[in-house]
């Protein structure tokens, strides 16, 4: 947003650092003035805390603050995800109920490719030789059928040492109903092997469905050494340089956690990538009073869709990393293989396809001149004049327009006997169709209508296609946030501390459940408040929110239903019937739903930063260029984002350029730059051709 140093000596700064694969993004907020600054520095993959420190030092220099002015450091990291994807994991072992050692390997045994002649690869993080069965058995109601024998556990401890395990996951049947056996196993192993890291499933993901719970616990176990060691290095590095502010880690649920908690529950960081962007969307939704948003992030290889409904980011209770289920609350995200690098081609029957195969960053699109020869969505955009080859990445990278045209011509236009421009526009249109389908399906699953939503677009490749995608879905408005290059970090500035606690409660949601629910609420709330106090959150900033996962008897899927307390059970049930009707077009008000889980979020509210208006520009275009759109060439003005004049109404077609993104406002759209920095595009009514 700004690069001018203005931080005064006395005021405190809040900093969010988002470490991605290539860049470490920083957002620095002056808490007194509400003005924020963006900074980027290269990521240091071998130890990302090094790049983090470098970024902080550079920012301190640029924006004139000292480390003792930092009030809070919020840290988003893909270290957990990358460790799994790159298999940089320690040697781990798994303890299960005897007879169920293979559950992790069997999984749910459903294939994705229906007519495949060779089975798809399945991720297996702990091999058979390091999975151990323990004679014991808890039943579905939590009663013990076969008691634990401490001697067996001691014998197992020896086997753990023998197989070289540094970390162990314990996942026993029905431990969500009664954690006694798992706790005992952990206790004895800890006594025998004090160095061993231990994750037990009743602590990590206390929900029924043994495969999903086991998978989550295994991931947690394998990540404990990875994340624990990283946080130790980070802490040491920061302390060495005089940074003593509290550090918080961004979790998959959009909230943050203390390093201590993150080291114990590293699986909660696994899908935290989208959290920052989703939080940013939520913040902007409130700022603009536009409470229903579809947030889309179009990068080089993928397109991520998340939802803000009624001002709140949609969460789900399960996700997946590299085919391994992660049964934990997280920001809901639908990802499809559509990005700037998506490859276009033809099949043997004269059909045209776009993606999901991607040229990625290497070799990249043909126009990158890095050896990529196949046409991509970016090549189509260059061909259509929508990307300026001389101003890509703010001019940092020069693109080869001839190579782009050549690739589109050779691979697609010639075999399909189409014009070059017609082909390039077709590639963009198909990419838009895929993206629109992904959005429609995301909304559709919840019985929501795209027309009730506005689109908020970020990511380097998104700005060129956002208005077309919205139009495809009859959405009337598109929001382009400021600083799209560091938006994720910006969103993190607004995060709160969030502890998610769950208790499996399989029973009917009627008066008979109240006593048990009240007991559970007492236990969960005591634990939640204890954790918030341990985080140093003042009592007035502690907040507890409950949901019940309800379903009709026998259903596979539960609906998270807001729930206040046990006196409120009847109205929660009524809400469930309504939600079911809204989402699935049928309900059965005569049926008593089943409770599956009671969930509690313990929120520690962190002070919210002030916002400040941006400086308005003079509104003068940098120049004009020809772009191809709707089957013809147009001469359109090119305006630098920074020179936009706030509050004025502009009409498409026009192009807005900024450092990491280009925005296309098509001819039937208008654009208003807001004083708060967002650009708002509206479809022009009555010009629907």
């Amino acid at each position: 947003m700004s690069t001018k140093p203005t931080t005064s000596q006395s005021s405190s700064v809040r900093i969010a650092v988002d470490i991605g694969g290539t860049f470490t993004d920083l957002q620095i907020l002056n808490e007194a003035t509400g003005i924020n600054y963006a900074h980027k520095t290269p990521t240091t993959p071998s130890d990302p805390s090094e790049g983090l420190l470098t970024g902080l030092q550079e920012a301190a220099e640029l924006f004139s603050f000292s480390f003792d002015q930092i009030s809070i450091l919020i840290h988003g990291t893909t270290i957990a995800t990358n460790a799994v994807l790159e298999r940089k994991l320690p040697t781990g072992a798994l303890i299960t109920t005897a007879g169920f050692e293979d559950v992790l390997e069997i999984g749910r045994h459903l294939r994705t490719h229906v007519y495949a002649n060779k089975a798809e690869e399945r991720t297996l993080l702990i091999p058979r030789s390091r999975r151990f069965g323990l004679k014991e058995r808890t039943k579905a109601d939590g009663s013990i059928e076969c008691a634990l024998n401490d001697d067996y556990i001691k014998a197992l401890a020896q086997q753990l040492t023998d197989c070289g395990a540094e970390t162990v996951a314990v996942s026993l049947l029905h431990s969500y109903a009664n954690p006694e056996h798992e706790r005992r196993v952990a206790q004895i192993i800890e006594q025998c092997l004090p160095q061993m890291r231990i994750s037990i499933s009743s602590d990590i993901s206390p929900e029924f469905r043994e495969f999903e719970r086991t998978s989550t616990t295994v991931l947690n176990a394998l990540l404990m050494p990875v994340v624990g060691d990283y946080l130790k290095r980070l802490e040491a590095r920061l302390t060495d340089h005089g940074l003593t502010a509290p550090v918080y880690l961004v979790q998959s649920n959009g909230g943050v956690a203390t390093p201590k908690m993150a080291a114990r529950h590293p699986a909660r960081l696994l899908l935290s990538g989208p959290s920052g962007g989703a939080k940013a969307a939520e913040t902007i939704a409130h700022r603009l009073g536009s409470l229903n948003l579809v947030a889309v992030d179009m990068g080089g290889t993928s397109y991520d869709v998340s939802l803000v409904e009624d001002g709140r980011v949609h969460q789900v209770n399960q996700g997946e990393v590299d085919g391994c289920p992660v049964r934990l609350p997280m920001v809901e995200m639908r990802t499809i293989g559509a990005g700037g690098g998506s490859i276009a081609g033809t099949d043997t029957a004269g059909g045209l396809y776009v993606g999901p195969e991607s040229a990625g960053a290497a070799p990249g699109p043909a126009c990158y001149d890095r050896g990529g020869k196949r046409p991509t969505v970016t090549d189509a955009n260059v061909t259509l004049g929508r990307i300026d080859p001389l101003h890509f990445l703010g001019g940092a990278m020069r693109l080869n327009a001839t190579a782009a045209q050549q690739a589109v011509t050779t691979d697609v236009a010639v075999p399909l006997k189409l014009d070059l421009e017609e082909t390039a526009e077709g590639i963009a249109q198909i990419a838009v169709a895929h993206m629109a389908s992904a959005i429609r399906l995301s909304l559709f699953e919840k019985g929501l209508d795209p027309e009730d939503f506005a689109l908020i677009s970020f990511g380097g490749a998104g700005g060129l296609h956002a208005c077309d995608t919205a139009k495809e879905l009859d959405m009337k408005q598109v929001i382009f946030p400021s600083d799209p290059g560091t938006l994720s970090a910006w969103g993190m500035l607004y995060a709160d501390i969030a502890h998610d606690l769950t208790s499996a409660q399989l029973m009917n949601a009627d008066a008979g459940a109240k006593e048990e629910l009240a007991k559970t609420i007492a236990i969960l709330s005591a634990e939640g408040l204890k954790r918030l106090s341990a985080d140093g959150i003042a009592e007035k900033d502690q907040k507890l929110a409950y949901t019940l996962d309800l379903r009709y008897r026998g259903q596979a899927y539960e609906i998270a239903t807001p729930f206040i307390n046990t006196d409120d059970l009847e109205s929660a049930v009524a809400t469930f019937h309504e939600l079911h009707q809204a989402q699935f077009a049928h309900s059965d008000t005569s049926a008593t739903p089943e409770i599956i889980n009671l969930r509690m979020s313990a929120i520690g509210t962190l002070a919210k930063p002030k916002t400040n208006n941006i400086a308005s520009g003079d509104g003068k275009p940098r120049g004009h260029r020809r772009i191809y759109s709707q089957s013809r060439w147009h001469d359109v003005p090119i305006i630098e984002r920074a020179s936009l004049e706030t509050g004025t109404l502009l009409y498409g077609p026009l192009i807005i350029e900024e450092a990491h993104s280009t925005i296309l406002v098509p001819h039937d759209w208008s654009l208003t730059p807001e004083a708060t920095g967002e650009l708002i595009a509206n479809v022009c009514i009555g010009d629907d051709t």
Binding site: Y115, A140, T348, E422, E425, F444
Partner: protein
């Protein structure tokens, strides 16, 4: 109307696939029973105005290929297309009217735009129970279809938007699980409405004419691609046969499935004439089922992805004589038609292996392992636990077969043990891989699975429709066959293992009795002597072999 270009066709294709996916999502999220909700035994499909399939949600080969044939049968022989009106839903589960077996209820809804039919949405759901001689409607001793449950002939279950409650009542009065089946059925109809709405939107956007044109071109493209793949296969006649153990009634009569594959340039014919005459027991296939199996075997054997729609079916023709196990005559029983169905897939793939040995893997387990336990609780209530399992994949020319993974004609998910134990009076003792069950070979066959459980209710009745207990999944190119499966009963308090037959009808159980099911491993591929030393030692170390 200007003709559509490749861009517009791809955009319409994408929209049609979305329609099928939206129906699929609706069923998954709203259904009631474990068959649907965890095993995912259902499929959704979009057909063009004439009933030719054009898009489907990838799920279950057995359903997808045969729904089109069922629809064709309905239109040609039962309810002429001129009588399909807006707001109607046509239903059937009759195997002799294009269906598969009675639990699979198929529903079709025509979709109109400006008074013109533009598409048909179709959904098939395997329902938990439709009556008959055994829980789950898998009655292994049936000798006539009348013993297998309620047959719904082709009729309008919804007419002009109004549900025929009389038929629904009749259906629910004939199932052991009225609540689950009623819930699943509502979800099936709701999902059809979802599909219809999306298709109407597509119709409005593109117009009937362009949509029809796009459908035609999408099917033609798939046909072209499929023909191109067949053209790579050397012309000739290739033959392979495989067997079903027995039909559960005549225990010493193994059933032959003989596939004669005739490759003629860019089309193939599969002649099953030398297969056994129809069986007394319920393992028979009606013709649609057989055709579906042949298509599945062919598409799997070629090892190339082609878009699955009516177009890719066109270059494949099937010959199956009436009165044979691959084209049974009414009223032969068909509940366990998957026994012959899987074997047709095995035989067809085996025939392709003669032609293109470098592409085709050895035999997969080839059984749906359907079993049901009806538990009688102390309070007089009854619950039916139904489940399906899978086994090992055949070794592939390029590598080992997968352990315990869905393959071939079906595609199923397992039911979590914790979910079963919460819902039914059962306790599981084991769920795991069966060491040494994969056929040896340069590429080893995948391992089968073992599932063992105990009845905790006072009494129960067990039924199973299994196979490959006698005839093992074949190896190829010198690979050994996979190990056969088995079913074992251990009575409460006894150590004696009682070996059961592959087809079990109404076996009485008491508290504490234990059932153990072991599924087959896949066949091996290539000479076991050529297996690398490191692969052999890895297998031993991990305990895949002992």
């Amino acid at each position: 109307m200007s003709s559509l270009n490749a861009v517009q066709i791809e955009i319409i294709r994408n929209a049609l696939v979305s329609a099928a996916e939206e129906m699929s999502v609706t069923i998954w999220r709203t259904s009631r029973s474990s068959v649907v909700r965890e095993i995912l035994d259902y499929s959704t499909c979009v057909f063009d105005a004439n009933g030719q399939s054009v898009a489907q949600a990838a799920r279950m080969p057995v359903h997808l290929n045969s729904m089109a044939a069922c629809l064709e049968d309905l239109i040609n022989h039962h309810i002429p297309i001129t009588e399909w009106h807006d707001g109607d839903v046509i239903i059937t589960n009759d195997p002799y009217s294009g269906g598969q077996h009675l639990p699979d209820i198929q529903t079709f809804r025509p979709v109109f735009h400006e008074g013109r039919r533009i598409a048909i949405a179709g959904i098939l759901v395997h329902h938990l129970d439709v009556g008959g001689g055994a829980p789950g409607s898998y009655y292994a001793e049936a000798t006539e279809i009348y013993q297998e449950g309620l047959c719904i002939p082709p009729l309008k279950i919804v007419e002009g938007g109004k549900r025929n409650e009389a038929v629904v009542k009749m259906l629910l009065a004939n199932t052991r699980e009225p609540v689950n089946v009623g819930g699943d059925f509502s979800s099936q109809l709701a999902a059809l409405e979802t599909g219809a709405l999306t298709l109407q939107r597509i119709g409005k956007r593109y117009g009937a004419e362009r949509l029809a044109n796009a459908c035609e071109r999408i099917q033609a493209a798939s046909e072209t691609q499929t023909r191109a793949v067949f053209a790579e296969i050397p012309n000739g006649v290739y033959e392979f046969e495989d067997f079903v153990d027995d039909d559960g009634i005549e225990l010493d009569r193994k059933l032959r499935i003989n596939a004669r594959l005739i490759v003629d340039d860019d089309s193939v014919e599969v002649d099953l004439s030398q297969s056994s005459s129809q069986a007394k027991g319920p393992v028979n296939c009606t013709f649609n089922m057989t055709r579906s199996a042949v298509i599945c075997g062919a598409l799997m054997a070629i090892g190339r992805e082609v878009p699955a729609n009516a177009g890719c079916y066109r270059p494949i023709s099937v010959i199956a004589p009436l009165g044979s196990v691959v084209n049974a005559r009414h009223p032969a029983p068909v509940a366990n038609r998957m026994a012959v169905g899987h074997r047709i897939v095995n035989a067809v793939m085996g025939a392709f292996a003669q032609a293109v040995p470098e592409r085709v893997p050895a035999s997969y387990y080839g059984v749906s392992y359907a079993y049901a336990l009806s538990a009688n609780n102390a309070d007089g209530s009854r619950q039916v636990y139904f489940d399906l399992e899978c086994g090992g994949w055949g070794g592939h020319p390029d590598g080992d077969g997968a352990n315990g993974f869905s393959c071939g004609f079906h595609n199923i998910s397992n039911t979590p043990i914790e979910m079963i134990e919460n819902d039914y009076p059962l306790t599981f003792l084991r769920y795991g891989l069966v060491p040494n069950s994969g056929g040896e070979g340069k590429s080893r066959g995948g391992l089968g699975l073992v599932r063992e459980f105990r009845l905790d209710a006072p009494e129960g009745t067990f039924a199973a429709n299994l196979d490959r207990f006698k005839i093992a999944p074949y190896g190829l190119e010198g690979g050994e066959p996979g190990r056969v499966g088995q079913l074992i009963m251990r009575r409460s308090g006894s150590d004696t293992e009682e070996i059961l037959a592959s087809k079990v009808a109404g076996l009485n159980m008491k508290t504490g009795d234990i059932i153990r099911l072991e599924t087959a491993g896949g066949g091996g591929h290539g000479n076991p002597k050529d297996r690398s030393k490191s692969d052999i030692s890895d297998d031993l170390f991990e305990g895949y072999t002992t």
